[in-house]
């Protein structure tokens, strides 16, 4: 005898409703593949292209606490905004993000990144300058590569000083898809 889906759902919802979770997550479908979306009590704390839970859940548990459980309701709002974004109906996210555990420089880079508008591009060097360390372009590259909340913190809008796309932790194809969606890359590119 196995646990019935309704019972399973009921427990997952109750766990979240009672505030017993460090992290609630769910899997969302998107044009760039399934996304693992996770929220802490402070806000959105992870979007991952790697939906192979094992590794991702371990990492969430280390960062936020071991009470990590798949529970759709707390993630609903994020999924709705992502859907609107991918439908081309949303150009800015209205979501609290939890990046408290990152280093101060890392945080300030991500805060600057969050200001880069939809449909525009910036460079690693420019972002480094805005975060107060103009010569730290390489460090900014590393921070982009480890961005815990891609798409919402739009590291896909950051390119090399020559305009080359450089790279993307989720793979260049995804970066291109996102930039095409935003109209900053011609379809042929």
């Amino acid at each position: 005898m196995t646990v019935f889906p309704q019972l399973d759902e009921r427990f997952r919802a109750a766990a979240a409703a009672e505030g017993l979770l460090d992290v609630a997550y769910d899997i969302a479908d998107s044009p760039v593949g399934p996304l693992l979306v996770a929220v802490s009590e402070r806000g959105l704390c992870r979007i991952s292209y790697d939906t192979e839970p094992e590794r991702e859940l371990e990492s969430l548990a280390r960062s936020f606490g071991a009470r990590v459980l798949r529970s759709p309701r707390p993630v609903d709002e994020v999924k709705r905004e992502l859907d609107e974004y991918f439908a081309g109906e949303r150009t800015a996210f209205d979501l609290a993000v939890d990046i408290e555990r990152l280093s101060p420089f890392n945080r300030s880079v991500l805060e600057e990144l969050a200001q880069v508008p939809y449909g525009s591009l910036t460079t690693y060097g420019t972002l480094a300058g805005r975060a107060g360390r103009p010569r730290a372009a390489r460090a900014v590259g590393t921070i982009m590569n480890r961005n815990p909340i891609p798409i919402v913190l739009p590291c896909h809008r950051v390119v090399g000083s020559t305009g080359s796309l450089v790279g993307y932790a989720g793979g260049l194809d995804r970066k291109k898809t996102l930039l095409r969606l935003e109209g900053s890359l011609r379809t042929a590119e």
Binding site: M1, T2, V3, L7, D8, R10, F11, A14, A15, E18, L20, L21, P53, E54, L57, E58, L60, A61, G65, A66, R67, V68, L69, R70
Partner: protein, 159 residues
């Protein structure tokens, strides 16, 4: 020194044990009340999770919680005389004899009942049971054996 076993993400623990814990509760409190007991067991586990110091013996720990939840259920409302596990829906119950023993075990002192249930019903080692009950391996062994002795005496009385 051995490194402490890391506490796994709760999702991992839940997926690994939810079905057996549910089966256990169906046998303990009956199908109708097993759903509430199941939810209560895992909510209690979540409440206790931050207090764990390492990830060892988590299965035994879960069963201890389930045993307590089932005991609370019995206190709240005595169980029907016989709990029958439905045999359809492809259920394979490897321990039919135990289902009877467990039913009898319901009236044992809490610690003995838990030890008997975990040892004979779920095949946990005495070390695990001791950990689950917060006592030594030897104390777990004694609790299980005095529980079984008590059950035998009772069966003789009944007969």
């Amino acid at each position: 020194m051995m490194e402490a076993v890391r506490i796994p993400p709760f999702e991992t623990l839940y997926l690994e044990h939810r079905n057996e814990v549910f089966r256990f509760l169906v046998r303990r409190v009956g199908r109708d009340r097993a759903e509430d007991a199941f939810q209560e067991t895992f909510l209690r586990a979540l409440r206790g999770y931050p207090g764990l110091r390492h990830g060892e013996h988590l299965r035994a720990w879960l069963y201890t919680i389930a045993v307590r939840v089932a005991a609370d259920e019995h206190r709240r409302k005595p169980a029907p005389a016989v709990v029958r596990v439905p045999r359809d829906e492809g259920v394979r119950d490897a321990r039919p004899e135990y289902a009877e023993l467990e039913h009898l075990a319901g009236d044992l002192p809490a610690k003995e009942r838990a030890a008997v249930v975990l040892r004979y019903g779920y095949d946990l080692s005495y070390a695990d049971i001791g950990m689950a009950l917060g006592s030594s391996e030897e104390a777990a062994r004694q609790a299980a054996s005095s529980g079984v002795r008590r059950l035998r005496r009772r069966r003789i009385e009944i007969a």
